[in-house]
């Protein structure tokens, strides 16, 4: 198992390098002098000279890449000019908030989605199946940002169940119940579409598995139907559901950007949008590389989970 994880980690190195190359190339598309672009309104001659020296911005592209990469691996993502602090500090702080939001949403959509899919498949064509199919169709069609706004209107403004926005109450907040109250709506809004997609995939995966011969074997030996569905069938279905979870995690992470804006969640997505509007290039660059790298690592976890589940995968 350790060797398998190690193998996956080593295989991830070229992907991570590729990510840095892609981000670097995109940022190199910025028209005009890079130093002025990065500094924006802070482009005094001294600053330009300094940043040219630090980042080698007057050197050829390849050299600039390696200087940047060198800084990157030592944990130096540059300095945000709009916030006047190191990019890494800001990204790490913001990423925590995103991780809470996206993580909870992901767990929510994985559990609810799989459960809905299993129920739907086990009760195929029954009332529950039809109801779930209908709700899922609606769910996957509502953009998270619109859903979030409607939720604020209904549950925060009219019913006053939850706070309108933010992560903690300004006065007297800061503990776990406070966090959960703030988290409930954004996490739900963020998970709806992914829940729908996962429910659909789980349903068809379950239907596929329930037709297999080994399910008949389980029934023939007198295993309880509940165990046949939740054990034998679901376990096999998970083999095709887990990759879907990996992909959906990427969509949850993407959707977090909108939800963070709508609910003013102090996460990395909102930070990126603000940074783009303020033309804080280094902050965008650092944030994108950091989150993309985390996503690659997350996908390694997905692969490992898959190999734990399926003994036929060569480890």
């Amino acid at each position: 198992m350790t060797s398998y994880i190690l193998k996956r980690l080593i295989a991830a190195v070229p992907v991570l390098l590729g990510i840095t190359v892609i981000v670097f190339l995109i940022m190199a598309m910025i028209p005009g002098d890079p130093a002025t672009a990065i500094l924006g309104s802070y482009a005094t001659p001294e600053n330009v000279a300094r940043i040219n020296r630090d980042l080698g911005l007057d050197k050829p592209l390849v050299v600039r890449y390696f200087i940047w990469l060198g800084n990157l691996v030592t944990g130096d993502l540059g300095r945000s000019f709009s916030l006047n602090r190191p990019v890494l500090d800001e990204v790490l702080e913001r990423f925590q908030a995103t991780l809470i939001l996206a993580g909870v949403s992901f767990v929510l959509c994985a559990i609810l989605g799989i459960l809905a899919g299993v129920v739907s498949a086990a009760r195929q064509y029954g009332l529950a199946d039809k109801l779930i199919t209908f709700v899922v169709l609606i769910g996957i069609s509502i953009p998270s940002f619109f859903l979030g706004m409607m939720m604020i209107l209904t549950f925060a403004v009219n019913l006053r169940w939850f706070p309108v926005s933010g992560m903690y109450a300004i006065y007297g907040g800061g503990d776990l119940p406070d966090l959960l109250r703030h988290l409930a709506m954004p996490a739900t809004a963020l998970s709806v579409v992914a829940t729908g997609v996962i429910a659909r995939m789980s349903r068809s995966a379950m239907l596929e598995v329930l037709r297999q011969d080994y399910i008949r074997t389980a029934r023939a030996k007198g295993v309880h139907e509940r165990k046949v569905i939740m054990g034998h069938a679901l376990r096999s279905a998970m083999v095709s559901i887990i990759p879907v979870l990996g992909i959906q995690a990427g969509f949850v992470l993407s959707g977090a950007v909108y939800v963070e804006i709508v609910f003013q969640w102090p996460g990395v997505g909102r930070m990126l949008v603000d940074a783009i509007l303020k033309r804080d290039i280094l902050l965008v660059q650092g944030g994108v590389v950091f989150v993309a790298a985390c996503y690659v690592l997350f996908n390694i976890c997905v692969d490992v989970a898959q190999s734990l589940l399926d003994p036929r995968i060569k480890t």
């Binding site: 590729g18 892609i22 209107l153 023939a220 295993v223 959707g255 940074a275 660059q285």
Partner: protein
């Protein structure tokens, strides 16, 4: 055309198509509709509610007419979405075709790059591009298109790779055509439909993504507004004037939903296997639909089938797989059921414990009595308690009938613990005993194997051990040796024979091999087209078959008792069980068939001692 028909048979997809068509038509016609100017501000008319005079949907925070802005915004969103889809399709397909057509290094490098692009959560890439180019609708469009290029590249490459190996490409190369000409004139026409389908499934997605970027303030800039930026601007007035948010938001919802419906329909129409109705899950117990009350119990057999009928109901067709079958078996006895594939022998066996896949299987009549108790129509819990405990099954191919993700020991323990309250350790000890009983060497090391780590013969021994787990009275073995090679077959047969002697097991052995019958079975029933056509002691039937079908079966088997024999050698095919002829089902293939054989129904006539019976008007041997 057939495709469109399929699409329209799906009502939801048709609804999606109609709604989408309506939205597109309205968007196209917007400049000619009698709408107010979308950009004229009127500070006095701010936030008018819907249905105000002159403003059907009300006005926004600058007093602009919402209906007009909605129409123009929809138009813009659709245009940007389509444009992004077009660009992504064009560039992505080009990349995909180049990679797929040239293959080798080119393919490798390109696909590596594509994989890396796909390693990003899509919005990060889009944000990075917008960050570099600056906010604006055109830049948002570029970003969304760019993010979707890998999707097209990967799909189109797959199709191209399979096409590039076809003869017509080779022929074109031999004819001296240049690469560009081959790609444009030979490859492209074949790839184009795939590109169009990929576009139709992603365009909704791209509309949503561009709207999203605009919502974030990174797309269309004021005063120009697409649906996303309308929603974004309305956000600050969400609480006081929710209608300004609801109008563009609902429109996005309607567009995305109709495209989703359409996409589902397209997918269903293209891949019939995924059609909502095609994939059904079998229930825990076969459905029962008895036409007549169950027959009275007769005799005191251990297990007896009386007048059992099972059919498959698929759409409007009914396949009568089993028709009025009577069978019985006593302790220590082995009954063979033999027939070609499709003769109904397996369905008969599965009907006993309600294991026929249902839907589409339905048991339509008869009784299956275990020690006198009727199992047909018994409650699920009654059946479950008996499955594996009183009556156990061994199936054909142990690779597909054992669960691939559980260790064999766990599967054995589960069989035990489904019927007996024992601790995990006791179950494991018992499982080891069972593995030893079926002569698996080194049970201690084998018990933690997964099925794929064992040979076919070992796997089938595990299946037999599983069937023995609760000391059942009856074992139903459904072609348990067919998937195995000859020597292993012989070992498994002798194992079953020994077990039957030692444990007084009753075995119903389903097979298509008379050699197996000769080795193992005391009595045999020959099935054809869902009916028993002959039955009696194995030796008597092997020596003097009475039914022409049985005789022909055996004629195909020159030397009994050796190796593997198939029954396919009889000319002709069994009749389709949804269109059974009158009279004898074998008449088409029988060389003794007369006029009388094709009318009415032919009864199974037994000898006076009840030992043999045959369903034939002109049997090969006179039994009386």
């Amino acid at each position: 055309m057939a495709f469109l028909k399929l699409l329209f048979r799906n009502k939801l997809a048709a609804a999606g198509l109609i709604i989408m068509g309506l939205v597109v038509v309205l968007a196209v016609l917007t400049p000619w509709l009698p709408l107010l100017d979308p950009d004229v501000t009127a500070t006095g008319d701010r936030f008018k509610p819907p249905f105000s005079a002159g403003h059907l949907l009300g006005t926004d925070h600058l007093g602009r007419d919402l209906l007009s802005r909605l129409m123009w915004g929809t138009r813009l969103s659709l245009m940007v979405g389509f444009a992004a889809a077009l660009i992504a399709a064009l560039l992505g397909s080009t990349v995909g075709i180049v990679a797929g057509y040239f293959g080798g290094r080119t393919d490798n490098i390109i696909m590596r790059a594509v994989d890396m692009l796909m390693a990003f959560p899509y919005i990060l890439l889009a944000l990075a591009i917008v960050a570099a180019l600056g906010p604006g609708l055109v830049n948002a469009l570029i970003a969304v298109a760019a993010v979707n290029i890998p999707f097209f590249a990967r799909n189109i490459r797959g199709v191209t790779v399979s096409l590039a190996r076809r003869e017509f490409i080779d022929a074109a190369k031999l004819a001296g055509m240049g690469h560009l000409r081959i790609i444009v004139f030979e490859l492209l026409p074949n790839v184009a439909p795939v590109i169009v389908i990929a576009m139709s499934t992603t365009v909704g997605w791209m509309i949503l993504e561009t709207a999203g970027l605009s919502f974030l303030g990174l797309g269309s800039q004021p005063p120009q507004a697409d649906l996303g930026s309308m929603l974004g601007e309305a956000r600050s007035a969400l609480i006081t004037s929710p209608h300004t948010s609801a109008v563009p938001g609902l429109m996005i919802f309607v567009i995305v939903m109709s495209i989703n419906l359409l996409g589902d329909g397209v997918r269903d129409a293209l891949d019939p296997r995924l059609r909502s109705g095609a994939l059904t899950r079998p229930r825990a117990v076969t459905q029962i639909d008895r036409q007549q009350p169950a027959p009275e119990a007769d005799g005191a057999s251990l297990l007896a089938l009386q007048d059992l009928s099972t059919e498959f109901r698929v759409a409007k067709r009914t396949y009568k797989a089993v028709r009025h079958v009577n069978l019985h078996v006593a302790p220590g006895e082995c009954l063979g059921v033999i027939g070609e594939s499709g003769s109904g022998k397996s369905v008969t066996a599965l009907s006993i414990m309600g294991l026929v896949a249902s839907p589409p299987g339905v048991i339509t009549g008869g009784a299956g009595r275990f020690e006198g108790q009727d199992l047909i129509g018994a409650s699920y819990e009654t059946l479950r308690a008996m499955r594996g405990d009183k009556v156990a099954y061994i199936f054909q191919d142990p690779l597909s009938t054992l669960h691939p993700l559980y260790r064999v020991g766990d599967q054995l323990c589960e069989a035990i613990r489904s019927h007996h309250k024992v601790t995990a350790r006791e179950a494991r000890t018992r499982a080891l005993e069972l593995l030893a009983a079926v002569r698996i060497p080194n049970p201690e090391s084998r018990i933690d194997n997964y099925p794929h780590e064992m040979s076919g013969g070992m796997r089938q021994r595990v299946s037999i051990a599983m069937a023995l787990a609760n000391d059942p009275e009856v074992i139903i073995a459904d072609e348990p040796t067919t998937a195995l090679d000859v020597t292993v077959q012989a070992q498994i047969l002798s194992l079953l024979n020994d077990l039957r002697r030692e444990r007084q097991l009753a075995i119903i052995f389903i097979t298509h091999d008379f050699g197996v019958v000769a080795q193992l079975c005391d009595r045999v029933a020959v099935m054809y087209a869902g009916q028993i056509v002959e039955e009696g002691p194995s030796q008597a039937i092997l020596d003097r078959p009475a039914h022409p079908y049985a005789k022909r079966l055996m004629a195909c088997v020159p030397d009994l008792g050796q190796g593997r024999r198939e029954l396919e050698a009889i000319p002709g095919l069994p009749p389709a069980v949804d269109r059974l002829p009158d009279g004898c089902a074998f008449a088409e293939r029988c060389n003794k068939a007369s006029q009388a054989c094709r009318v009415g129904s032919i009864e199974l006539v037994g000898t006076s001692d009840g030992r043999r019976a045959v369903r034939c008007l002109d049997p090969e041997e006179s039994l009386s």
